[in-house]
């Protein structure tokens, strides 16, 4: 052993050079961390305080004719209000469960249809044909006066 060598508490020898290598390596890693941490935090956008609406006035009585639909805004997302042939209001999320396109109501098919990859849902929101893997989430509809109010189930 040379005079340069000292003992670590554990007894293993660590040379002066080894010590400086360790200190330098640790310093470089700490520096990189100090750069990368704020950088990743910066890149992730802060949550926007978008109002998470739990209910919304989707339309007024008379806006829709039977066997038609209308896209409305629910919170920050699009939703679909359908007036069936039999005169019943139903509401769903308008975001296709396949790849996030916005669906529409097709009177000729009496179905909810997604143009992107020809996905079909029935009037209960069930995926009946095409690529969508899951049904559309359905919302509650209540009529108060002439307002059609949609709320999360």
């Amino acid at each position: 052993m040379t005079t340069d060598d000292t003992k670590t508490p554990g007894g293993a020898p660590i040379s002066r050079r080894g010590f400086f290598d360790l200190a330098l390596g640790g310093g470089v890693i700490a520096l990189l961390g100090a750069i990368l941490y704020p950088l990743t935090r910066f890149v992730i956008p802060p949550e926007s305080p978008e109002a998470v609406a739990s209910q919304v006035v989707a339309a007024k009585i008379g806006d829709l004719t039977p066997n038609s639909g209308k896209i409305f805004r629910f919170g920050k997302d699009p939703a679909l209000l359908v007036l069936t042939k039999s005169g019943e209001y139903r509401a769903f999320t308008a975001i296709c469960t396949h790849l996030d396109c916005t669906v529409q109501y097709r009177g000729d098919l009496e179905r909810i249809w997604c143009a992107c990859h020809n996905g079909n849902y029935d009037l209960n929101g069930n995926n009946v044909s095409g690529p969508p893997p899951l049904p559309l989430t359905q919302y509650n509809v209540t009529v108060r006066g002439d307002q059609i109010i949609v709320s999360k189930a």
Binding site: P38, V43, P45
Partner: protein, 358 residues
């Protein structure tokens, strides 16, 4: 490098295709002369570091910044208050911009006094002078982007001067402002210039500048005492020292940004009066202050016009320094050049100070 067999196989493979050894030779041949002025060789590297910081933080700011009169101020406010470490990124961008100009000036003057521009480095100097002008352009165009009151009026005044130029003045003014007035159209233009046009041109000249420095190696000052000095390889010895300097500079930047976060001010209002104490950024102050002292008419000329002509000639002279100093080209000392340099520094310092105390 002998290294492991795989390493030398890879090197040989690359060499056959790219002329790797030539590239390696180019990277390794440069040596740094060691003498009492060696410290000035760090200044260009410091300027380069700030430039790299500007690119990094600039790209980050682009994630949230919006270049319209309606949204710019609010988006910067958002960066300062809502985005995590947004205040740090913006403050570093602003501080590093100022430090970059400071270092560029010090680098230029050190190169000037050491006569590093003399043959065969004339074009290195010319490309450097162009980089300085481009840096001023970065400063001017970036200042407007937060769309606050100070920047709005500084830009109004700064572009107004263009309008004083005979014949093409009005045309220049309209092109610079994207209309007759400083407006959202000006902001959009300045944004494009700041984030696309200038970076492209500056990167080009920077590559030219650095390639020439690398090819020619460092110059030594004139005089027998500088001949046959000791040297150290640039790579890796001096480059590692550069790196230590850069780490230090980063620390200083973060410190400045944390202790003095950059102000945002109040949103620009085209109908409000100019606030008192308005002045451009410090690196424009000596020109701004000079314009204040020139009488409104000198002989047949408007005062501003005289000022513009003067500064343009100054800029041209700066570019031409290596060609004006014939004595340095013959490896002779030139006291006149040193005297001129001192006068210029004194003038710039005094007029900059005047802009701050008045």
């Amino acid at each position: 490098m002998t290294g492991s067999p795989t390493k030398s196989t890879v090197a040989a493979w690359l060499d056959e295709r790219l002329g790797w050894s030539a590239i390696k030779e180019f990277a390794q041949h440069k040596r740094i002369p060691l003498h009492r002025h060696t410290v000035w060789y760090y200044l260009g590297g410091m300027t380069l570091f700030c430039f790299l910081v500007q690119i990094g933080t600039g790209i980050l700011l682009l994630l949230y910044y919006r270049p319209t009169a309606e949204a710019a101020f609010e988006s910067v406010e958002f960066i300062m208050t809502d985005v995590r470490f947004g205040w740090l990124v913006r403050s570093i961008h602003s501080w590093s911009a100022n430090l970059m100009l400071f270092f560029a000036f010090v680098h230029m003057f050190s190169v000037f006094f050491l006569r590093a521009y003399r043959k065969p480095r004339e074009l290195t100097w010319v490309s450097g002078a162009l980089l300085l002008f481009l840096s001023l352009g970065f400063g001017f165009s970036g200042y407007l982007l937060p769309w606050n009151q100070l920047a709005y009026f500084a830009t109004k005044v700064g572009t107004d001067i263009l309008g004083q130029i005979p014949l093409i003045g009005h045309w220049l003014l309209t092109v610079a402002r994207g209309g007759d007035e400083v407006s959202g159209a000006t902001l959009t233009r300045f944004f494009g210039v700041h984030v696309a046009v200038l970076p492209m041109i500056a990167t080009f000249f920077l590559v030219v500048h650095l390639a020439m420095v690398q090819k020619q190696g460092m110059s030594v000052p004139i005089g027998p005492s500088y001949q046959n000095t000791r040297t150290m390889p640039f790579f890796p010895n001096f480059a590692l020292r550069d790196l230590v300097g850069w780490t230090l500079a980063l620390g200083i930047l973060v410190l400045l940004a944390s202790i003095f976060p950059w102000e945002l001010g109040v949103k620009a209002d085209p109908l409000a009066s100019a606030p008192a104490g308005i002045r451009p950024e410090w690196f424009f102050c000596f020109m701004f202050q000079t314009l204040k002292y020139i009488p409104s008419h000198v002989l047949f000329m408007p005062g501003e016009l005289l000022g513009i002509i003067g500064f343009s000639l100054g800029g041209v002279a700066l570019i031409l320094v290596p060609f004006l100093d014939r004595r340095a080209a013959r490896e002779e000392r030139n006291g006149l050049m040193t005297a001129i340099g001192c006068v210029v520094i004194l003038y710039m310092a005094v007029f900059t100070l005047l802009a701050y105390v008045r």
